[in-house]
């Protein structure tokens, strides 16, 4: 029950005026970022990170702000799903299936309220899970030696692409590209410059934040330019924001089931919020679609994926904080921020900086309440702001990205680097190569190498040390299983697609 004492301290940290203000600001900004189509949680958080640095907040406050944005995005994504039939971000795709039909039937207020309450419940389940399980996992991770960390990083690279059926070779290649970029700069142990091309700007290595903003925000502009600009349909109007309580109550079991499924999906490495919402929607459909109402505006089809994606996004914080290995794209971006603030997540974080961990957990509890309150009456405001056209939104996003990156180092070189990463990100996205493993490789590369070299220093160059401890053997076994599974899934998907092609 030690956790509860820490949690009480955490509330003391979270309830300082600055942190409350940041929390509310983050919740509002996050909901807006989530609601705006084209600006997802990864983009949003990536753009805000350099600005957070520039404001000079400490690590705890920065993390509270960004987590509030992150949670807010998950709430906001559903607004455009329901009112526009355009998912505001990736995890909200499933919400369009039943949310938009509900809105067309004149039940927009109900759909929004149901999804809001479901989001609240899912996120709360995740935060309770975080309170209970993260310290356990961190306690376990204390026993990890350098060789075990090396094995853990390998597992993380193999699993981060998820089991979405994308070619697993591309995912691994993406991680390896990230690792290659991570080696540029002065070698941390011997001080020898590697891959710097005698450019002194590269001696410190590639700043992960610069790479992130380029990879996500700039490449998004290039993606948008591919297609003809279309005027979006006007959103479905709202008569009132007061929902019927009965409609919300009728979805209670869908919410409970969705939260649990989503939470499990979130904790698993490499799954993240998108998989959480997909899994909880399909489970709910199997469990309760007796009359074929799913897809035609069934409230349970709105509640389950929303509970699922919020539970998953909270669950994804567990491996990020306790092992230092993020479970999703956005948590990878948050890891980048922590590393840049000289906070190394992992088991020691819970011992050395309990203020940060528990302050964050407490502010997530508060943030959830704030988001629920913020979201119900202010939905009209968000739905109006959502109508900002892309041509007006993206130039502002570009300008803010430049200011953020420029403020880190005041160097034009970083701006050029950001644009280059934008082009790289665009090309990789076109080739169906996910960017998240690359970011993870870039972030964890240095640590992975350090742990490998430490392990081999201890063993005096004996490579067998990597396979000695039961922990690393288990991790390698998991890696092998996961790799096998993803190869099998990719092959099965391809066969199915070929079968469909020959049939049609």
């Amino acid at each position: 029950m030690e956790s509860f004492l820490f949690l009480a301290d955490g509330f003391a940290v979270a309830l300082t005026p600055l942190n409350i203000a940041l929390l509310l600001l983050g919740c509002f900004t996050g909901t807006l970022i989530g609601a705006l189509p084209g600006l997802g949680p990864v983009n949003g958080v990536a753009i805000l990170i350099p600005l957070t640095f520039a404001f000079g907040f400490d690590a705890t406050s920065s993390l509270i702000l960004l987590s509030a944005v992150y949670f807010g995005c998950m709430y906001g994504g559903r607004i455009s799903s329901i009112l526009l039939n355009i998912p505001g971000d990736e995890p909200a795709v499933m919400t369009t299936l039943d949310g938009y039909p509900m809105a067309k039937q004149g039940k927009a207020a109900d759909a929004l309220a149901i999804s809001g309450v479901a989001s609240f419940f899912g996120a709360t389940v995740a935060v309770v899970g975080l309170t209970l399980f993260a310290p356990l996992l961190a306690g376990l991770a204390i026993y990890f030696g350098p060789a075990d960390y090396f094995a853990l990083y390998i597992l993380a690279f193999v699993t981060i692409g998820g089991i979405a059926g994308v070619d697993p070779r591309k995912t691994l290649l993406s991680a390896l590209i990230g690792l290659m970029i991570a080696t540029a700069g002065l070698d941390p142990i011997s001080g020898i410059p590697r891959f710097t091309f005698d450019n002194y700007h590269l001696y410190d290595g590639v700043d992960a934040i610069v790479a992130l903003v380029g990879l996500f925000a700039i490449s998004e502009i290039l993606m948008l330019l591919e297609k003809a600009a279309k005027d979006r349909a006007a959103p479905i109007g709202l008569d009132s924001w007061l929902p019927s309580v009965r409609a919300i109550w009728s979805t209670r079991w869908a919410v409970v089931r969705g939260s649990i499924v989503g939470f499990i999906a979130g904790v698993l490495p490499g799954a993240g919020a998108s998989l959480g919402s997909v899994m909880s929607y399909s489970m709910e459909k199997q469990a309760s679609d007796k009359n074929g109402t799913f897809g035609k505006g069934d409230p349970r089809g709105v509640a389950a994926p929303e509970a699922g994606n919020n539970a998953a996004s909270g669950g994804a914080l567990i491996p990020m904080l306790s092992l230092g290995v993020p479970g999703s794209g956005t948590t990878a971006v948050m890891l980048a921020m922590l590393i840049s603030l000289n906070v190394q997540p992992g088991p020691l974080l819970f011992e050395r900086q309990p203020d940060l961990v528990w302050g964050l957990v407490a502010s997530l509890y508060l943030g959830n309440v704030a988001l629920l309150i913020l979201n119900l009456p202010m939905i009209g405001l968000f739905s109006r702001l959502m109508m900002v056209p892309t041509w007006a939104l993206m130039p502002i996003v570009a300008a803010v990205s430049f200011v953020g990156v420029f403020s880190i180092s005041n160097s034009i070189f970083d701006l050029e680097l950001m644009i280059m990463f934008g082009v790289l990100g665009y090309l990789l996205r076109k080739l169906d190569i996910s960017l998240v493993p690359l970011v993870l490789g870039l972030l964890l590369g240095g640590d992975m190498e350090r742990n490998l070299r430490r392990a081999l220093s201890i063993s005096d160059g004996e490579w067998g040390v990597l396979l000695e401890s039961p922990i690393s053997l288990t991790l390698y076994a998991l890696t092998a299983v996961f790799l096998g599974l993803s190869v099998w899934l990719a092959r099965r998907d391809r066969k199915r697609r070929q079968a469909r092609l020959t049939e049609g």
Binding site: R169, R194, P395, L415
Partner: protein, 143 residues
Amino acid sequence: MSVRLAGVAIFMIAALFTWYGRGYTASFGDVLGPGVFPVIVGIPAMILSASLVVFPSGQVEWPERPYLVRQLAALAILAGYAWLLGPLGFPLATFGLIVGIGIVLGGAPLKAVILGALFAPALWALFDQVLGLPLAVLGDWFG
């Protein structure tokens, strides 16, 4: 085809990376030295990219020429912003960025100019005045 070409490009980069990485040595320090990790990373990257050349997966549809031109224009504007931020100062350069990207993205030119005229000074005021990030009002060219 695109996947094959990308595979070739990544293979070349990984091969060069491995080749140069191998050469980094330190006369003292730890057992492994700075040259081994690049080899550990580079060789699997070479194998995977080679396998993409031989067995490519997925189709890539590149944008048609007019859209490609718009993308290049956007990149030129972004690069121009990076280089002109110093000489022009923040508000003026940002005005150009917002107007340029706005028009490339299909906004009406007049509306884009109004957007830029409103937001460039507003962003400067927000970041420089309110949030305390130093951003030059007038660039090197003006004094």
